[in-house]
């Protein structure tokens, strides 16, 4: 088994994550739709090219170039992208144009951009990277599927640096529909109080989070990616035994875990999964969450991955992500757990290196 290190990170999110500092100036939102804080795209993309790019592509290009630069890598040996919905705004644009104009006067641009692998493809085109290029599109485990693929690529001796990322953008019509079916909260709770909202649904965000993975550790390495597992279906009753089995397979016990990073999104019906382990297995472990900062989206767990990697490197936990308050200690082994609406669960272990 080869090792897999996180050597670079890039994060475009609803927080000031493209600037220096580590969540020391948190932005709260009163609405249930959290937009990203746009970086200065011109610094990364020529304006003429940027005008033709979907939001997801622009965010992806910025986050990926930050992640590569951070790791001092120019062109990776593979690009693996996760996205739940792809370039959603262009999908909406093309569907509505079909209906509004009764299939006449259509232009191909939004159809082309709507293809799910556009972000990964545009990054490859920009870097002239002819390597392996995959896109995973499976709801809440899109990003984790990328991590599993990347780990295998290292073991196959097919790559020594891999760009992995998760990206999703807001679509107005889609958000309206998700509000109608209660997946977005009907009432505005304010992102600061998300975890205590006690109502159904969540607040929705968007973002692009990329990392450069490598089979070699450098002085810049954030952490080691130890293992990843995904489960399509998992009951609350079986969650703790699943976690134990997963940790045991990695020769870790519950006590070895110094920090758990949880995907709580304020949905009273489904946060019970997290509650189970907050009050159970990890009662005495430091717990953090992040979806009040990023909003919920299909690849929001990549924000949790970014957060965990930063905490391991900085050995510091931003106060506003803490669920409980345990005495400070060395954060060596970190477990990430995420699910969306009780489906598509993922477990990830990161380790300091």
């Amino acid at each position: 088994m080869k090792n897999c290190y996180i050597n670079g990170l890039g994060c475009v999110s609803a927080q000031k994550t493209t600037e220096s500092g580590f969540l020391d100036d948190i932005v709260f939102y009163d609405t249930n739709i959290l937009p990203v804080i746009n970086p200065n795209y011109k610094e990364y993309i020529p304006p003429a090219a940027a005008r033709r790019m979907a939001k997801g592509v622009k965010m992806g290009v910025v986050a990926s170039s930050l992640a590569l630069k951070d790791a001092h890598v120019e062109v990776p040996d593979a690009i693996i992208t996760g996205t739940g919905m792809g370039c959603l705004q262009d999908s909406e644009k093309f569907v509505s144009a079909i209906i509004d104009n009764d299939e006449e006067f259509l232009t191909p641009t939004s159809f082309i951009q709507s293809t799910h692998n556009t972000v990964g493809a545009q990054i490859a085109l920009g870097l002239q990277c002819k390597a392996y290029n995959f896109t995973y599109v499976h709801s809440a485990i899109s990003f984790e599927s990328c991590l599993i693929d990347a780990q295998m690529k290292f073991n196959e001796d097919e790559a020594s640096t891999i760009l992995v990322g998760g990206v999703d953008e807001h679509g107005k019509h889609t958000n309206d529909l998700h509000r109608l079916i209660g997946h977005i909260k009907k009432e505005e709770v304010g992102s600061a109080d998300l975890i205590h909202s006690n109502t159904d649904g969540s607040i929705f965000g968007e973002g692009a989070i990329f990392c450069t993975l490598s089979d070699e550790k450098t002085e810049h390495s954030y952490a080691k990616l130890v293992d990843v597992e995904i489960y399509s279906q998992l009951s609350e009753e079986n969650l703790e035994s699943r976690i134990k089995t997963f940790l045991e397979a990695n020769k870790l016990s519950i006590d070895d875990i110094d920090l758990v990073v949880l995907g709580n999104n304020g949905d009273v019906t489904f946060d019970s999964y997290y509650k189970t382990i907050e009050e159970g297995l990890f009662k005495k472990t430091q717990q953090v969450y992040y979806k009040h900062l990023s909003g919920e989206f299909n690849t929001a767990s990549a924000f949790g991955f970014w957060l965990a990697s930063k905490i391991i490197k900085e050995q510091e936990i931003p106060t506003l992500v803490k669920i409980n308050d345990q005495p400070k200690k060395t954060y060596k082994n970190v477990l990430l757990y995420n699910q969306y609406r009780g489906e598509n669960h993922s477990l990830v272990v990161l380790q300091s290196c």
């Binding site: 739940g84 919905m85 792809g86 999908s91 093309f94 569907v95 509505s96 079909i98 209906i99 299939e103 259509l106 232009t107 191909p108 159809f111 082309i112 709507s114 293809t115 799910h116 692998n117 556009t118 990964g120 493809a121 545009q122 490859a124 085109l125 870097l127 002239q128 990277c129 002819k130 390597a131 392996y132 290029n133 995959f134 896109t135 995973y136 599109v137 499976h138 709801s139 485990i141 899109s142 599927s145 599993i148 693929d149 295998m152 019509h173 889609t174 309206d176 529909l177 998700h178 109608l180 079916i181 997946h183 597992e229 995904i230 489960y231 399509s232 279906q233 998992l234 299909n298 598509n344």
Partner: protein, 398 residues
């Protein structure tokens, strides 16, 4: 890395048949499934030819005995039918008797329902159940539910190479020892979204598509689903399984040339084929048949021909594109063509490239145009997609 990946089951629904046997019979009789659009309400009904599956959603729902409350897109319905066939064909009685995963591919996902109810959703609640079924992972999730697979379930979407990549990932997971068995493939239904999308790109043929013909004018779209069951050597030995063929090689590369067009020198396709040979450990001269991507667009067929010449030199194996039978079934294309490649190996047959008259002037490649019998040990299958995504699979008899 000497582990083999056995194919022990397959299932398919396409415009030329709703089972493996029906597809084989149509291929042997050169009976294509291309006709004018009949099941989708579109203003292009008289000008566009497609490969439609002759089962309505209602018939599929009845066949699968789904409850009234079901919210299946047509992609999910087709996917479940094909995946169930594959599992049955592999003689699996308990899907969870070993570590089993599902990797599916789709490009259109639940778009057929979204485009139908897009504005109606805002007006009344009648069809709200379909809102959650829009995203690409939904059809996979439903296939997993129907098969009883609960752990490793994921979806790949890389446009028209999607299901080649699903097969590739599955093979790698078996080799890595992460799974013992994995159901792999893809599903895509026809939709106004894709029909109009390809129409705006001006790459649709107004008649039967003519892969590798000098006078080709574009592609026919189609709908389909196909799945394979891949199993490890250990499972095959333990259960004394009949092996249909093996996944022997695979490769994916990016053309990094243009979002929708292939490069003039077929760079990405060349790299994908070369990688597949490296994994397989065989030489190009060992390939008995190439099931080409061959969409019949002016751009693809020339670029692919040049790539094939770069890889095979002057000794180009027998080659055909089966898109003339089924149309281009997008994310399902590589999966249905995997089934055809396996049938070629099992029956020692090459299926014809329909509607061919004149070789492309630049390359002079002449495909096989009649059913041809000969020993087939290795088949190479290409699938290329938007975003420069190029994939090659090699299937073998032993």
């Amino acid at each position: 890395m000497s582990k083999r990946v056995a194919i022990t089951g397959m299932g398919i629904v396409s415009s030329i048949g709703n089972s493996v046997e029906e597809n084989l019979n149509a291929l042997l009789q050169s009976k294509h499934g291309i006709s004018k659009i009949s099941s989708i309400k579109t203003r292009h009904i008289d000008e566009i030819m497609v490969g439609e599956i002759d089962l309505s959603n209602e018939e599929l729902i009845k066949q699968l005995r789904l409850p009234e409350s079901q919210n299946y897109s047509r992609t999910a319905l087709l996917g479940v039918v094909a995946a169930k066939q594959a599992v049955e064909n592999a003689g699996i009685s308990d899907i969870n008797d070993c570590r089993t995963g599902l990797i599916s591919a789709t490009s259109v996902g639940g778009m057929d329902m979204t485009e139908k109810y897009y504005y109606q959703y805002l007006e009344d609640e009648t069809n709200h159940k379909y809102i959650g079924g829009h995203h690409a992972g939904d059809s996979t999730h439903k296939i997993a539910e129907q098969l009883g697979i609960t752990d490793f379930v994921t979806t790949i979407s890389t446009a028209c190479s999607s299901s080649a990549n699903a097969i590739m990932l599955g093979a790698r997971m078996i080799k890595a020892g992460k799974l013992d068995r994995v159901v792999v493939g893809g599903a895509d239904c026809l939709s106004k979204f894709t029909i109009n999308g390809f129409k705006t790109l001006m790459i649709l043929s107004d008649t039967y598509c003519k892969p590798f013909d000098n006078d080709r004018t574009g592609l026919n779209l189609g709908e389909a689903a196909a799945f394979l069951v891949l199993e490890s050597d250990e499972i095959v030995a333990k259960e004394n399984k009949k092996v249909l063929a093996y996944v022997s090689g695979y490769g994916n590369a990016n053309d990094a040339f243009h979002q929708t067009a292939s490069s003039d020198n077929g760079e990405g396709a060349t790299l994908a084929m070369q990688k597949a040979f490296k994994v397989s450990g065989i030489l190009p001269e060992q390939i008995d048949y190439i099931n080409a991507h061959g969409t019949a667009t002016p751009n693809n067929d020339l670029s692919e021909s040049i790539a094939i010449q770069r890889v095979f030199g002057s000794k180009i194996p027998d080659l055909s594109s089966t898109k003339g039978f089924t149309g281009h079934t997008l994310a399902a294309a590589a999966a249905i063509e995997a089934v055809y490649s396996i049938l070629a190996i099992q029956h020692n047959l090459i299926f014809p490239n329909l509607n061919f008259n004149t070789a492309i002037a630049e390359t002079g490649i002449v495909p096989v145009t009649e059913v041809k019998e000969k020993p087939i040990n290795y088949v190479l299958s290409n699938s290329f997609g938007f975003g420069g995504n190029c994939s090659t699979l090699i299937f073998s008899k032993n």
